[in-house]
Structures are given as structure tokens and as C-alpha cells.
């Protein structure tokens, strides 16, 4: 392979760095997507198999279908608000603050659901059936999404108030964050649809 050396060492432009970071995040989204796919696959596999009638045992408890949607609603709101932040960078800090509040509320709501699960057998501490097992893993994944998205949103809020950050690169980071925020909203919807099939 031949090469020539007439070009000088260059530092990557913010656009190149931004595109690269966005690609990296999207590749990590593929990994997270496989995880979410695995959860959905497991949910429907166990539901349709209903081994020994144990998907939801007789007299077993469930969450309502709407509670799953309530848990992911903040994810959807936050993703939409962040879209506004992308369009109006002058008010990005304010929009990111709303996004952060949505994630904190959503994370709290999800934790509250996890702390008040109706399907743990009090005497033995076991979970009532495969539905309960699937539900708790899905809720855990939602909480993980809230945690990571909240971390990013907090960073965007703080950084929007600092004059030291590169504005061009920052605008790319806001776009990169949008990839994650959109993904967690999409995955939240997919998981809410899944848990609607009780």
C-alpha cells in the first residue's frame, strides 16, 4: 500500500468528532437494543408457553397495562422536549432542565413501582409466576435508561451554563444526546406495548 506524506498533522474538526461520537452512541444503542429485544422475546415466550399455568398463577397479581405506559411517559416527554432544544439552541439549557426533571420524575416513579410490587409472596419472598419475573426485569431496564438519560441531561444543563465548552462541539453533543433520548423513548414504548399484553 503506497502512501505519501505531503499533508501536515491535523486535529480533527468538531464536526468530525461530533459525527464520530454520534456513531459510537448509535452502536451502543444497537447493544442496548439487543438487550431490549431479549426482554421482549422472553416476555412473549414465557407468556405464550404459560408453563404449568404459571405465567400468572391463580389469584396472582399484576400491574395494570396503563401503569407500564405511565412509567415510560416521562421518557417520551423528555425526548420531545429535547427535540425543541435542538431547534432552539439559545434556550437549550432551559429545555435540558425540563428534560432532566422529566427523567428524575420518571426514575422516581419507576422506583416507586419497584418498591410496591404486588406480586411478591410475603411468606416465601418468591415472585408470583413468570409475568412477575419479566415485569421486574423490564422495570429495571427502564430505570437504567432513566439513570443514564438523567446523567446526560444533568450534564447538558450544567454545561449550558459554562462558557468554557466549545459551542460547535456542544451542538453536536446535543444531537448525540438526542440519539439516546429518542432510543430510550422508543424502547420504553416497545416495553410498554409488551407489558400491555398481560
Amino acid at each position: 500500500m503506497s502512501s505519501d506524506t505531503k499533508f501536515q498533522v491535523h486535529h480533527d474538526a468538531p464536526e468530525a468528532v461530533g459525527r464520530r461520537e454520534r456513531l459510537g452512541v448509535r452502536l451502543l444503542i444497537v447493544a442496548d437494543g439487543a438487550f431490549v429485544f431479549g426482554m421482549i422475546f422472553s416476555y412473549f415466550y414465557l407468556r405464550n408457553l404459560d408453563q404449568n399455568g404459571g405465567w400468572i398463577p391463580k389469584n396472582g397479581h399484576t400491574f395494570s397495562a396503563s401503569s407500564g405506559w405511565m412509567a415510560v411517559l416521562p421518557l417520551i416527554v423528555a425526548a420531545l422536549v429535547h427535540k425543541l432544544a435542538q431547534r432552539d439552541l439559545s434556550h437549550q439549557g432551559s429545555f435540558s432542565l425540563i428534560t432532566l426533571v422529566a427523567y428524575i420524575y420518571g426514575g422516581y416513579y419507576q422506583l416507586h413501582q419497584l418498591a410496591n410490587m404486588p406480586f411478591i409472596v410475603k411468606d416465601t419472598g418468591t415472585f408470583e409466576g413468570a409475568y412477575a419475573a419479566c415485569w421486574v426485569v423490564i422495570a429495571g431496564a427502564n430505570f437504567f435508561h432513566y439513570f443514564v438519560a438523567g446523567f446526560i441531561a444533568l450534564g447538558l444543563v450544567i454545561r449550558s451554563r459554562r462558557a468554557t465548552v466549545d459551542p460547535v462541539l456542544e451542538s453536536w453533543r446535543i444531537r448525540t444526546a438526542a440519539s439516546w433520548f429518542t432510543w430510550v423513548a422508543v424502547s420504553g414504548i416497545a416495553l410498554a406495548i409488551t407489558t400491555s399484553f398481560i
Binding site: 500500500m1 502512501s3 459525527r19 444497537v30 447493544a31 439487543a34 413468570a130
Partner: protein, 620 residues
Amino acid sequence: MTTLDQHVGTRPIPNPKKSLITKLNAGTGLIVGIIFALLTYRGLSTVLDISIYELNNRVLLATMFMWSIGFLAGIGAFIGPIRWLIGEDLTAEEQLYLAGDGQGIKRYFKYCTDHKVVGIQYLWGVIVLLAVGGAMAMMIRTDLANPGGHFITPSVYNSLVGLHGITMIIALIIVATGPFGNYIMPIMIGAADMAFPRLNALSWWVLFTAIPVLCSAWFLGGIPTGWTAYAPLSVQAGPGMNAFIAAIIIFAISTAVSGANITATVITMRAKGMTWNRVPIFVVGATLSVAMAIPAFPTFMLAMIMTAMDRSFLTGFFDANVGGTGWLYAHLFWIMGHPEVYVILLPGVAILMEIVPVFVRKPLFSYTSAIVGFAGIVGLSFLVWAHHMYMTGWMPMLNGPFMVTTEMISVPTGLIFLVILGTLWNGKPWLKVPMLAVYAFLWNMLVGGITGLYLSDVPADMYLHGSMYVTAHFHYTLMGAALTGAVAGLSYWYPKMTGHMLHERASYISFWLVQIGFQVLYLGMFIAGAEGQPRRVVDYAEQFATSNKISTMGAYTIGIGFIVLLWAVIHSWRHGKIAPMNPWGAKTLEWTVPYPVPLVNFDTPPVVTSDPYGYGRSAK
């Protein structure tokens, strides 16, 4: 002055305002990791009754994860994200410091972002894992040398089989993409570094934290499940299983991070003029391998999380009494498990395809066929997982379709063979060790591939399933092909990575010992398996005694061969013949940079103007 000192030269150490990053290293990581682990264990065991099975599992798992988090905090892995969070990005001086500039051998024990340092860290990590896994293999084969003559107890044997398996699987997943994907690949594509240098360091140090976690399984009673950790056996297993689960979850995180990093690097950082049809074939193979790992490993991680939930929180994913099923585990495991075979295989094969044109001085025969072959393997590998479940009774009506997709993989694999044979055709090979490995691969992969066809066939699998035949088959593909490719890569790129030639005579001796021992070990195992000896069983009938004795002799021969190679690697690193810049006369970009390779690899960014295998036609 050691080789490593020469590597960094004598530039003064940059002083990034005496910030915290200058004070952190693997030592502080160990201290903080151990403190985190001890505090977690002591704290939780005071509030939870660890005599209760599930509560003990919770405490142990939390301890292991906190060790990992503590180590990463102690080595400085979270400084970058926290500085980003508070809007104080790392300064240029701090980034230069993180790259290890001017820090000598110390940078190998720091959170160093230089891809060449990470490559060397991976290399030694792989060597340690292979040594540990190999030692376990020797113990297994020693035990199997004679029927009834137990060298180890049955429970220890069970644990050894599982720990050997998972240790070797982890080692082989990173054996090529770790050292060469990090050290060599960025230079091959003309990049100054990886796309995400801090993630690069993270992927290595996260993996590093998984190693003691996995080793702790031994001290917690071992794992009785084999490396597949099938449920519900894994749910019922003792505390050692927690170590397996935690290690796999940590490893899956490392793999995802590494896969995203390598893929993004190749897509966005190729040199000017390096169009997709000019990308070296090793880069293609390694990238497809890690890109395949990105969606594959999370399902394994999910299976492990579910196992941990069943063990620690009494959920019922795999418990038929409460609506679960072991089949779910098998699906999630093998949806990862079969692509993982090709995650291991592709980089090793790609290394050999990189070597062949150099050593026969001919262009790679049909580069396009090689790409189509790789792509076919990647695509089909996600459609074959249930051939591991023929005998589970999961869904017999789907055995036929899965048999067809499995057998279809032989078509793209055949294309890979065609490319190598076509390149060899009428060539005059330069028979150095890397080239010998190509011939070894052709034989080993032929045996491994053809024996695999029988296993993909449902009626034949009914007989061969669960026998030593299966063990011999996958060792022919994973060790005989993939590891052979990685060892060839070590011989080939050793001069660029160390500045010295690998000891030639020792390399030849090692090569022949390993390859001869390999044939003795596994051809004998095919016979025992075809006659009905079950795998993973500590004892066997008298009728298998001869073939097992022969296999054990083969294993010892391999062991001696690898000890010779290890000696060659260590000896040559300090005392080997100084390597010229391009000892093999190759045309890829890594051979255009001197040793020590500059921090940003190229003083001026290269511009690629031709394909990497333009050696012209060989003389007839």
C-alpha cells in the same frame, strides 16, 4: 534501557496542574476496589442473613460488582465522565498525560488511552488467561489419562471443565481483536488513535476487573455447570456461580464498549484514499467480528441477569413450577453462543488472509469473495442457534430449517477457503512461521468444518450429541483455526509491537509441537467420541482407555509447545534480534511507521493510493 523505555523515549512528563489523574494507577485501583468490596460485604452481611441462600447470593454479587466499580474509580475511569458532567472537559495537557506520553513502563499500569498501550495490555491479559485456561486443560487431561484413576475429585473436575471453558472462551474472544485490533488496526487504517481513546482504556480495565471475579469462583466452591451454565442447574448451583455471572456481565460490558469503539474507528477514521475496497482484510474481519458481538453479547448478559434474579430474588424465569423454562435460557444463550463462535473465528482467519499475500508475494485472490464470505458468515450466524437445541425437544418441527441454515454456513466458509487457496495457487511461499500457520489452519479448519457438518445434521447429532466428538470438533475450529491465526498474528506483528524479531527457532519448535500435539489430542478424541464416550464426565469405560491416553500425550505436547512460545515471547522482548521497519516486505500501512511507533502513529497523515496487496503476479 528496556524495550519499553525505548518505546517512549526521554521526553519530559507533562504536568497537567498536578491533577488527580496523575496520582491514580492500578495500585490505587486495587486499593479502592478492595475497600469497596470489603465495605459492601461487611455492610450487607450485617443487614442480610447470609446463611440464607438467596441473601448470600445478593451479598456476593453486590460485592463483586462493587469491586469492579471501586477499581475503576480508583484507577481514574470516572474522571472523564465527571469532568464532562460538570462542564470542565479534560485539557489538552491532561489528555496527553492520559495518553501516557513520557511515562515509561508505568503507563501500562495506568488508565492509559494510547491504543498501543492498550494493545500490549490486552496481549498480556490474553497470555495470562490462556496460561490459566491451559493449566486447567492439563489437569483435565491428566485426570482423563486413565479410567478410574482420579487425579482430582469429581466435583473439582466439574468445576475445572466449566472454568476452563469460560476462561478459554473469553481469552479467544479477545485473542486477536484485543492485542492486534488495538495496537495494529488503527495504524493499518492510517488513524492517529482509536475513535474513543478513553473508552478504549475502559474496555481493557473493565475486562481486567472480570478476571479476579472469575478466578474467585474457584474459592467459592467452583461452578458445576460447564461454561454453558444451563438453567436450572446454574440457578441451583453454589456461591461460585455468582462469580461466573458477575464476570460474564462485566465482560459483556467490556465487549460492547470495545466493539463500538473499533467499529466507529474503522468507519470514521480511515486514511484519505482508503476506500472500502482498499481496507486490509484483517481490518474487515476484526471489524465484522466486533460488530457482530455488539448485538450478540447483550442477550447472554440478559440470560445472566435472569439467572442472578432467580438465584438472588427468587424470580422464576427458569423454574417450571412458577411458569419459567430452561429453554428460555438455552435460546438466550445460543442466540449469543453461535455468533460468538464466529466472533472468535473471523479475526483469526482474517489474520491468516492478511499473511498469505505477503508470504507468497501475490495479491489476495478475489478480495470481493472474501468480503462476501465474511458477510455470509455474519448474517447466517444469527439464524442457526437452535442447532444446539435439537435434542432438548424444544420444537422438533424447526430442526429441519435450522439444519439447513447451519449447513448453509459451509458456503461462505468455502469462499474463505477458496480465497486462501486461490492466493496460494502457483505461489512460491516463504515458509516462515506465520505462513506455516496458514497451512495448519487449512487442515484444522477442514477437519473442524467437515465434522461440524455431521453435528448440524439432526439424525447424526442424535448419536454424536454430548459426546467427546463435539469437544474435538469445536476445538478444531476454535483452537485449530482461530488460535492458530492469532499465534500467526503474534509472529507476524511481534516486530512492530516490540521492535524485536520473535525467536525464530523457538517459534518453529513451538509451532510443530503445538500442531502435532493438537492432531494427536483431538483426532484421538474424535475416535473416543464416535465410539460413545460422553463429554464432561469424569470417568469412562475401559474401552476408551487407549484413545484417552493418546489424547493426554497430545495435550502435554501442546502444553510444552506453548511454554516454548511463551519463553520465545518473553526472551525476544528484551533480547531478540532488532527488527527492521518492514521485515516481511508487506505493503500495509503499519509497516511504514518506525519502532517505537510515534504517539500519533504518523508524523503526517498518510494518503492511500493503491490496494494493500498489489504484489503483482507471481512468476510461472
